[in-house]
């Protein structure tokens, strides 16, 4: 709606070419999706004719093959390459044995990084999941629960970079006597704290301030999934427990929590993995300074800013090993589940 007639001419012309541009791009996109599905359908149709001994292996190869191939190319090979590179020097030219790991083990700077990463790995997922569980319990009986759920879930739609920018503005601090533009400082001043600290510099508080951005994004996810899990607990079970005299918090701890244990673990694991890999928040808000560096960002910085492939790769392997126990625990859980089926 060009209300300003001076703008109408060029704006219309521009819009015209933009729409054509968009139409062609969307055309290509639709073509790609339809082509992909079409090929699959054709393959299915042809392969579906096969019978007898070969039908099973054929199904395995055709249906599992594409995903397996992409996984090998996109993740397995790069992972092996990373392990290999971690034993080489900065330019991947000379074998240095375990030197890069030695560096990581002895550098006090890396110790701080590992400590921070551990802190993130525990605090952010537990806070997000715990808060999500609490909200899931509370929100379900409230009128207009859909609105609360949607609003709390909304940050999931925000990219981590945008979330970091939002929180950075929130923590902005000016010297005493100046007009505060950050909400946190403004609130501190409003409640009578004349000289609030420079939040982002205050160690170790700043680590938790950075984590709140992650918790802000992930709580909604935890809440929505856990709320669904709670709703799905068969009524008979709760009823039986109630007849046994369990009430209130005890019922929650002894019936609800065990019933949704698998969901809890899945949610916790998913958020942990996201937390471990996310480097955007630290990168955007502090650049890893002021004692807030985490492993994922240090790895990025070593590999892509300081061009030390060896050290970067070693850190990536450490990152992978750091979550290994988590993965093993999950696998054990999954194995039990698959076995009982």
């Amino acid at each position: 709606m060009p209300t300003d007639t001076r703008l109408a001419g060029p704006a219309l012309h521009l819009a015209d070419s933009l729409w054509q541009d968009a139409a062609i791009k969307f055309g290509n996109t639709a073509g790609a999706v339809l082509g992909f599905l079409g090929v699959l359908l054709a393959v299915f149709f042809a392969a579906g004719r096969a019978t007898g001994r070969f039908s099973r292996p054929l199904a395995v190869v055709l249906m599992l093959g594409p995903a397996a191939l992409l996984l090998v190319v996109g993740l397995v090979v790069p992972l092996l390459r990373t392990v290999y590179l971690s034993f080489y020097d900065a330019d991947a030219a000379k074998f240095v044995g375990g030197k890069n790991y030695g560096w990581a083990a002895t550098s006090s700077q890396i110790h701080d990084v590992l400590l921070n990463t551990l802190l993130w790995l525990v605090v952010a997922p537990v806070a997000a999941t715990g808060l999500g569980l609490l909200l899931a319990m509370l929100v379900d009986r409230m009128r207009g629960q859909a609105i609360y759920k949607s609003l709390i879930f909304m940050p999931m739609a925000v990219s981590l970079v945008a979330a970091s920018l939002i929180f950075k503005l929130l923590y902005e601090s000016r010297g005493s006597g100046q007009n505060q533009v950050g909400l946190l400082s403004q609130l501190a001043v409003a409640v009578g704290w004349d000289d609030p600290p420079n939040w982002i510099l205050s160690q170790p508080l700043n680590n938790f301030l950075l984590m709140s951005a992650m918790v802000w994004v992930q709580t909604g996810f935890a809440m929505v999934v856990l709320s669904a899990a709670i709703k799905a607990i068969p009524d008979e079970i709760t009823e039986a427990a109630r007849l046994d005299g369990a009430t209130g918090v005890r019922l929650f701890l002894h019936v609800t929590v065990p019933m949704i244990r698998t969901t809890l673990v899945v949610v916790l694991t998913t958020i942990m993995i996201i937390t471990l890999k996310a480097f955007d928040i630290v990168r955007t808000m502090t650049g890893g300074n002021f004692g807030t560096q985490v492993l994922a960002n240090e790895m990025y910085s070593q590999s892509f800013e300081q061009y030390n492939t060896g050290r970067g790769s070693a850190l990536a392997v450490i990152l992978f090993l750091a979550v290994a126990p988590l993965v093993v625990y999950n696998i054990a859980l999954l194995r039990k589940e698959r076995a009982t089926r």
Binding site: D21, D91, Q109, I200, N289, E305, N308
Partner: protein, 458 residues
Amino acid sequence: MTTPVTTGRRRLLAVPAVLALALTAACSNSSSDGGGGGGGSASALTGDCAKYQAYAGHSGTKVSMYASILSPESDSLEKSWSEFTTCTGIKIVYEGSNDFESQLPVRVAGGNAPDLAIIPQPGLLAQMVKSGKVVKPPQQTVENENKWSPVWKQYGSVNGTFYAAPMSANMKSLVWYSPKAFKAAGYEVPKTWNDLVALSDKIARAGGEAKPWCGGIGSGTATGWPATDWLEEVVLGTYGGDVYDQWISHQVKFSDEKITTAMKTVGDWMQNPAWVNGGFGDVKTIATTTFQDAGTPILSNKCAMLQQASFYRAQWPKGTNIGPDGDVFAFHLPAVNPQVNTPVEGGGEFLAAFSDRPEVQAVQNYLSTSEWASSRVKTSPGWVSANQGVDKSLYTDPIDKLSAESLTDPAATFRFDASDLMPAAVGSGAEWKALTAWFAEGQSIQKTASDIDAAWPQ
């Protein structure tokens, strides 16, 4: 000439690249009416385009360029070569990114290097040359480059081989101040380091809201770089060029007494609680203030001086009067040791090629001429070349003029930004981090220096 550009882009996705190229070529042929865009062969360019004859014969080709220069500076850049691209039919596809330093090595290693890259750090250039993908410039570029002072050729070379011609230069040894405020308070622009210290004390004692200095080293993932500049200024201004060069090559370590003494000088200056951080708060706020914001208190008289490079000019709000009698201007930071002859710390950008296609070389040749440099100077202020062939009267902006004079002054002790010359692990890693911790956490000079030394690649 908007038509060929838009049609070209629209078609690109629809048809295979080869076909697209052919069509674009055909397109620019048919639509390059008055412009004399030339055909596929090196037909004669006429009229205003005649001067581009040397680059003719590549109409319809595309050259990709990757750099860290973002809008609005990149707009001026594209404008400065628009006549060249119109006349020759070579399209320069420019991409600016603030992740340039981390993305360029990824793309080069991944086999997706741009045709040309504007590299601001000789250290990164060396890194790229090591990858074996950088192509040596054509003969014409080498000849054009002779119009720069010889030291620049050295910065564009790796292990004695010349790879990248300098495109622009900037002057770092400047102190921004407000001539109006100085005049009102009766302050004189200091000519020596002692004058500078005396003036700072005077302003600090005068009381009131104003502090003598403000500063900010925040710059996203590059947080800390302005602090490296302060240290470099002091090292160069205290010991001169030789020690500075030895420092870059790590013959003089950070923990060497010379450098720690220089750090102490920086500490007495930018970490002096009575002197900083005007308009922001205490010393620590230097670490959280972005370098872009650092100078704003000068306009509201809460801060008297800011040490920042000539490119800080772009940060002043629109309508700020920049000049010797205006709202803001800059003076040359005096040498700490008066024995050192006019220390000038500078930075610059170098054009490296990853392809030797003729059209890429044509662009390389053109961008190394003083004609292009003059065209860029005329496009908009805030850009300086150290090319001797650029007429100094072209500089309309007083800051540009000041910078150009210092950068081409034969008597000056000119040195390139040291952190840009050091290995990336130090110059864009440990040094930034350690100096930031020095400012933000009050870490000791000894630890700061030894942390940086520890990161030096063996």
